[in-house]
């Protein structure tokens, strides 16, 4: 029972950043821009949240910082891919390199450390069974609730809103949008910046839940979130399910590692292996935005 509760708590905790990043990725990929930059968004979001939390002591203020920082990264990515027309993969790698180097520089400058921030938003330990404590800990994270809100918002945006329709046109047939007098560049700028904000918020969960920022703590989650977008067929609700599945594998690792007879390496490899297999198995059955590139 305890183990189950811990597993559920870990699931929630691992899924939250993946879900938010994947929702951000859904938006910007639907607009027609391949987004491996998610990894960098998460990292910068995590760092900004740490700075915000240390400065204010408020988790919500930390979230706001992460959203703004993520949006700025999204704008940077828009600048290079949409305005300067750089290849999206190259620009994505650039954003990721930039995120890695700049957070390390800032870590050194602000906190005089090469690897991690001072502890943030620590609370006195809760009492109770380990399962209940970890579940309460997970559910008390504001980002988790914001992620659910974001899911509803993105589903509505994509399927019901006028802007969502324009984003879809930008990703499927940009000329169709131009013909109708709507700026493809503007549409993509907005979608990519919103995508950055969402993924940045996802990053906030990493540092807030771990109570510190660690250099390169995104550790491939952005790439997995991108995979979730593809497994989800670029549809937000299905993408959320894919993110939950990958999150569950992380939770499995966190719950079982060091405990069962299964070598840790297999558990750690699980998310990547599962994702690779899922993507390979699903390709051809999902339809990518036609102008994605």
């Amino acid at each position: 029972m305890n183990a189950l509760l811990v597993f559920i708590a870990q699931c929630i905790s691992a899924t939250t950043p993946l879900l938010l990043a994947a929702l951000g990725g859904t938006l910007s990929e639907r607009a027609g821009v391949a987004t491996i930059a998610l990894e960098g968004y998460i990292l910068v979001g995590a760092f900004a949240a740490a700075v915000g939390a240390l400065a204010s002591g408020s988790a919500l203020f930390a979230c706001a910082c992460a959203i703004v920082a993520g949006a700025l990264m999204g704008a940077l990515f828009s600048l290079s891919t949409v305005t300067l027309k750089a290849n999206a993969i190259v620009a994505g790698v650039a954003v990721n390199l930039f995120a890695g180097a700049s957070t390390r520089v800032a870590l050194k400058v602000l906190y005089d450390s090469a690897s991690n921030s001072p502890p943030l938003l620590t609370r006195s330990a809760r009492t109770g069974s380990i399962g209940a404590v970890s579940l309460i800990e997970s559910l008390s994270q504001p980002v988790t609730w914001l992620a659910l809100l974001a899911l509803v918002a993105v589903v509505t945006l994509v399927h019901k809103s006028a802007f969502g329709m324009r984003v879809e046109a930008a990703g499927e047939h940009p000329d169709a949008l131009t013909t109708r007098g709507v700026s493809v560049e503007r549409t993509r700028w907005i979608a990519l910046t919103m995508g950055g904000a969402l993924a940045g918020l996802g990053g906030a969960h990493l540092s807030l839940a771990q109570h510190e920022f660690v250099a390169y703590m995104s550790a491939g989650r952005g790439f997995l979130a991108l995979a979730a977008v593809i497994i989800g067929g670029w549809k937000p609700a299905r993408t959320a399910l894919a993110a939950l599945s990958i999150g569950a594998l992380y939770a499995l690792e966190a719950t079982l590692s060091g405990r069962a007879a299964i070598p840790t390496v297999l558990l750690q490899a699980l998310p990547f292996a599962f994702t690779l297999v899922a993507v390979v198995g699903l390709v051809g059955r999902v339809r990518a935005p036609r102008a994605l590139g």
Partner: protein, 345 residues
């Protein structure tokens, strides 16, 4: 159709301008004098024989990964997996290197290990190429996942099965497979990481370009990059060409293992070669398929890494590495698309 000199220089000029501005701003924010830091960095990278040797040692893997990324691009494939292919190459060298029999002639041992490293990189590349052609999985995503898998596997192997006694590294490679450091010829270089593996790195970009431009297999790879549908209508096996292009690109990245394990360290450890795969993308962008430009770009990024260490006391070494990302964005805008279409010659 020949490009003008200005056209060729444009990406370099734009990249230089943008990164100078960005890095100086970062240095200024970090509270130091850009002029002072610049002087320190330059002196660190080029100011002494030792510094220069270190710069070249850091450029060695970048020339290889740069050539790897550029090679795959000619087939229209984005090899974001150089990172994992490097890790696989290092791992293979760490496994095979110590097992090279003692009595074996020196050259043979090196070639054995080099083949193992290339095979390991090629295997990863081939998987991504096969997934792309046979299953339609985009190579960017599959190579990223393979990077993650190899990283997890390598960390585990280095911390357990391959660990050399109480050390935090693997067993040292046999003498028959060691590539000597250059400091025994030039004593001024004492302590530098530069080994004769640098010669390998200097040759590889030329060899890769020769293969692409002057052989039937290379022409097929470029035809695939130019138009997959045409390659198919010509009766080419698109699957075989995809696998070939990615395997060869992976082999070039795998060779990095030779530099680290046979040349620089003499053993492998966790984190060795981390980042050179992604930086190789920047090198490939600046190199734009031209060997000399690729080597120059590798030296440039090597110098940034070395110069970063020299200024570490004043500003964080990562400050100079910011330049990489700026270079990528600015150059990416100019050359990436033409290169991806196989247009650059």
């Amino acid at each position: 159709m020949t490009e003008s000199r200005l056209d060729r220089a444009a990406p370099w000029l734009i990249a230089a301008g943008c990164s100078l501005v960005a890095v100086n701003v970062a240095i200024w924010i970090a509270g130091a004098s850009p002029w002072h830091v610049g002087k320190l960095a330059f002196a660190g990278a080029f100011g002494s024989a030792y510094g220069l040797a270190q710069t070249l040692a850091k450029a060695t893997p970048l020339a290889l990964t740069g050539a790897s990324v550029a090679f795959a691009l000619r087939a229209g494939l984005f090899n974001v997996g150089a990172e994992g292919q490097v890790a696989a190459g290092v791992l293979a060298a760490a496994v095979v290197g110590p097992r090279v029999p003692q009595g074996i002639p020196w050259g043979i041992g090196v070639i054995l290990v080099a083949c193992a490293s290339m095979a390991a990189g090629a295997l990863l590349g081939a998987i991504a190429g096969w997934l792309k052609a046979a299953r339609g999985a985009h190579e960017v995503l599959s190579t990223l996942m393979l990077n993650g898998l190899v990283a997890v596997l390598a960390t585990w192997l280095y911390s357990g099965p391959l660990r050399f006694g109480a050390q935090v590294h693997t067993a040292p490679v046999s003498a028959g497979a060691r590539i000597p450091a250059i400091d025994h010829v030039l004593p001024a270089l004492r302590g530098s990481a530069l080994s004769y593996a640098v010669v390998l790195a200097a040759i590889v970009p030329f060899a890769a370009k020769w293969y692409l431009d002057r052989t039937r297999g290379g022409l097929r790879i470029r035809a695939l990059g130019a138009s997959p549908a045409t390659a198919q209508s010509l009766g080419h096996s698109v699957l075989a060409t995809n696998v070939r292009a990615m395997a060869m690109a992976g082999a070039l990245a795998g060779l990095v293992g030779v530099h680290y394990v046979l040349g620089f360290k003499g053993y492998a450890e966790d984190g060795l070669g981390a980042g050179v795969g992604f930086t190789g993308i920047a090198v490939a962008m600046l190199g734009a398929g031209r060997p000399i430009a690729t080597l120059l770009a590798a030296v440039l990024f090597g110098a940034l890494a070395q110069g970063g260490l020299a200024v570490n006391a004043v500003v964080p070494s990562d400050t100079l590495l910011l330049a990489q990302s700026i270079v990528l964005v600015s150059v990416g805008a100019v050359v990436a698309r033409s290169l991806a279409k196989g247009a650059a010659r």
